[in-house]
Amino acid sequence: MTQTPLLQLSGITKRFPGVIANDGVSFSIEPGEVHALLGENGAGKSTLVKMIYGVMRPDEGDMHFSGAPYMPAKPSEARAHGVGMVFQHFSLFDALSVAENVALGMNKDAVGANLDQQIIEVSEAYGLPLDPTRLIGSLSVGERQRVEIVRCLLQNPRLLIMDEPTSVLTPQEVDILFETLRKLSSEGCSILYISHKLEEIRALCDKATVLRGGKVVGSCDPRQETAKSLAEMMIGASLAMPVPTARTEGEKRLIVEGLSAISEDPFGVDIEDVSFTVSAGEILGVAGVAGNGQVELMEVLTGERAADKGVVRIDGEDIGRLGPIERRRRGMCSVPEERLGHGAVPDMTLWENTLLSARTRMGMESSGFLDLMAASKFATEVVAKFNVKTAGIDHVARSLSGGNLQKFIVGREIMQTPTVLVILQPTWGVDAAAAADIHRALQTLAAGGAAILVISQDLDELMAISTSFAVIAEGRLSEPVQTGTLSIEEIGLLMGGVHNSTGEEARP
């Protein structure tokens, strides 16, 4: 490699209060290279690319772009150099049109007079068709990502940064995306591809830099490595994977029939005619692309939101008209997706947060008065049993790391020994060791006779722990089947809204 690297990073360091997000990171990207940045959640990948894109500035270290010193003070400078970025959490505006969104993400002088036409041409050339006049709020998650990508492509990028792009896509959409990226790379555009998904990186990337705890711990050619060797580099230790237990035919604990709910949010997803049962000892895994009604389904099941139609039964009793408190009394606990602000109140202490969902089942409330001692005792038990790292139960929920707060919330629900547990994204943003702990706890709970519904976007997780499996798409649930009986292609079709291989598409 004698040519000048397109981007060279040397000794990049970024500190946040209490943590060093990046510690002396150095690597380089060649022109036309598809370069993977691999690491676990919290390894410092996102921070690093934000510095390349000018959202943040490093505390130490320097960067060179095509040999010249490069230190963008703001994203428009990065864009002027030909650096484009597709964010993990999209930087899009729901109430604005596709064209307006594209214009906002481009530098002023790059916006041509005929933007709508340009959008149509570029999006079709790369196989990502888009209608420039539609509102973002009315697009699917996959289409939204197209907007982000087309926005970058219109500026003729020399380096395209993709932050975890496939977590929101169906397997088929992933294939289309990879085609687009390979085409770009063959045209000489470099791609910095951030992911923790090993198979993807092996399929797409020419080179990989592995981050762990903010440091570069290795670099390799991913095509020469196995998924296992990459995983060990990323995690730094070998892990015991949970083994799915065989499906046991216990009594039917949770029965849902014809459940429907219209969303209040103009851009929300309606739940349409959902039916399933979960038996004692069963873990029903529900897969699906983000934004297909997962949150809505959970809220309707737990009673946070009223259903318009349908029946929900726990152990034979119809609870469809009851609120969350009464459902908890009858044995249903839940873990929402958002930790801060939904599963826990950010500025309340851990013991106060046990009052939020455990006061009924754990006897912390009598005639309206709260038993603060009982709350403290229960919080202490949860912290001890689930190995929550915190300076004490008097500290506010916000002060915990994401993984530790997740352990606390999951622990708080599991230790109420529910008979039915609805859990969304059980290990989102949790490190691998803690994820394994949570998985084991769920399996233990199921073994004790509880019925568990796990809704997750992580297929690997569902394959590992669920005994039966279904897919949610556009607010509709596929027929649950035994885990392991569907091929990845079939799952992909279901996630795209195609049901029962009849070829009927849920949306055009």
């Binding site: 959202v55 109430a95 103009p266």
Partner: protein, 306 residues
């Protein structure tokens, strides 16, 4: 016919301060900021406009002073909410309370004084046309400015890149920040602009409507302006309509007794407030529509973590 013309002219005079204040607040809210201090900014504008006009004899200076006073008051709110991250609702209330107090202190020396109201324009020929002349061509310059302001805001918000950026900041400040726009900068500018508009609206009260200074002379108009923004679904043209609707109610109420209806004046004075409530109810009823029109980040604090 003369009475009708008189009533319409009255409506224009009653509506114009509301047009200024609500148009300014509309821009602020489009940027995602809820400034409940409109009443305070208006009353400061009223006292500034009146006192400067009285001292200098120049209406132009008076209007500028009102705009500057309103903008400074707005920037104070902006400094607290955008830079020191204070609660927007509480800070807006503080601005109103502070504005009422400070204006009373400032205006004490001027109570009892009065000026001539700002002169109406007289355009040769046009103003003399019967009916159309008095209706369209013989108002004071601020009335024409208020219409130009609404048109200018509509053009700015929906036809310019800067307006698009402002709307994007109100819609999703995190995304706007990630793309590289200065959320705080855009919001401070919007807040200052909104303050200036509210200041001019207040000055219209003390320089045209009743050309003298009275404590608390805004009498809730700042709050009505806030209601108009909701009524308008954050669209400038509808804000103009809303302001004229309220102006109409105010003036008609004054004339009802003239028509020989026997009813206590206080009951009639309640009308504008009751109409405000009624309109709020009708507009807010469709929750989905309000959610669709309201800037998604309205009133939410923004703190850039980087």
């Amino acid at each position: 016919m003369d009475l009708a013309i008189l009533i319409i002219q009255g409506i224009i005079v009653a509506a114009t301060p509301l047009v200024f204040a609500s148009a300014g607040e509309l821009v602020v809210e489009r940027a995602g900021v809820l400034n409940l201090g409109v009443e305070g900014m208006m009353i400061l504008g009223a006292v500034a406009g009146f006192s400067v006009t009285l001292e200098t004899g120049s209406y132009v200076f008076g209007v500028f002073a009102a705009a500057i006073a309103g903008a400074i008051a707005g920037l104070l709110f902006g400094f607290l909410t955008q830079m020191l991250m204070s609660n927007q609702v509480a800070t807006g209330l503080a601005l109103t309370i502070f504005g009422l107090g400070l204006s009373a202190l400032w205006g004490q020396a001027y109570s009892g004084d009065s000026t001539d109201p700002l002169a109406k324009l007289h355009i040769p020929l046009l103003s003399d046309i019967p009916i159309i002349g008095p209706l369209l061509f013989s108002h004071d310059p601020l009335v024409y400015l208020s219409f130009a302001l609404v048109a200018g805001i509509a053009w700015f918000l929906f036809k310019t890149r800067a307006g698009l950026i402002l709307r994007s900041v109100g819609e999703n400040h995190d995304a706007a920040h990630a793309i590289g726009y200065s959320v705080v900068g855009v919001r401070m500018a919007a807040i200052a602009f909104g303050g200036a508009c509210a200041g001019i609206g207040g000055a219209y009260l003390s320089m045209v409507q009743t050309p003298l200074w009275v404590e608390d002379m805004t009498a809730g108009r700042g709050w009505i302006a806030l209601a108009i923004v909701v009524f308008a679904s954050w669209r400038p043209g509808r804000a103009l309509l809303g302001a004229y609707l309220f102006g109409g109610v105010t003036v008609v109420q004054l004339h009802i007794q003239g028509f020989g209806v026997d009813i206590d004046a206080q009951y009639l004075s309640m009308l504008p407030y009751l109409v405000t409530i009624l309109v709020l109810v009708v507009i807010s009823y469709d929750k989905t529509r309000v959610n669709l029109n309201a800037p998604a980040c309205l009133g939410k604090p923004f703190f850039a973590s980087s």
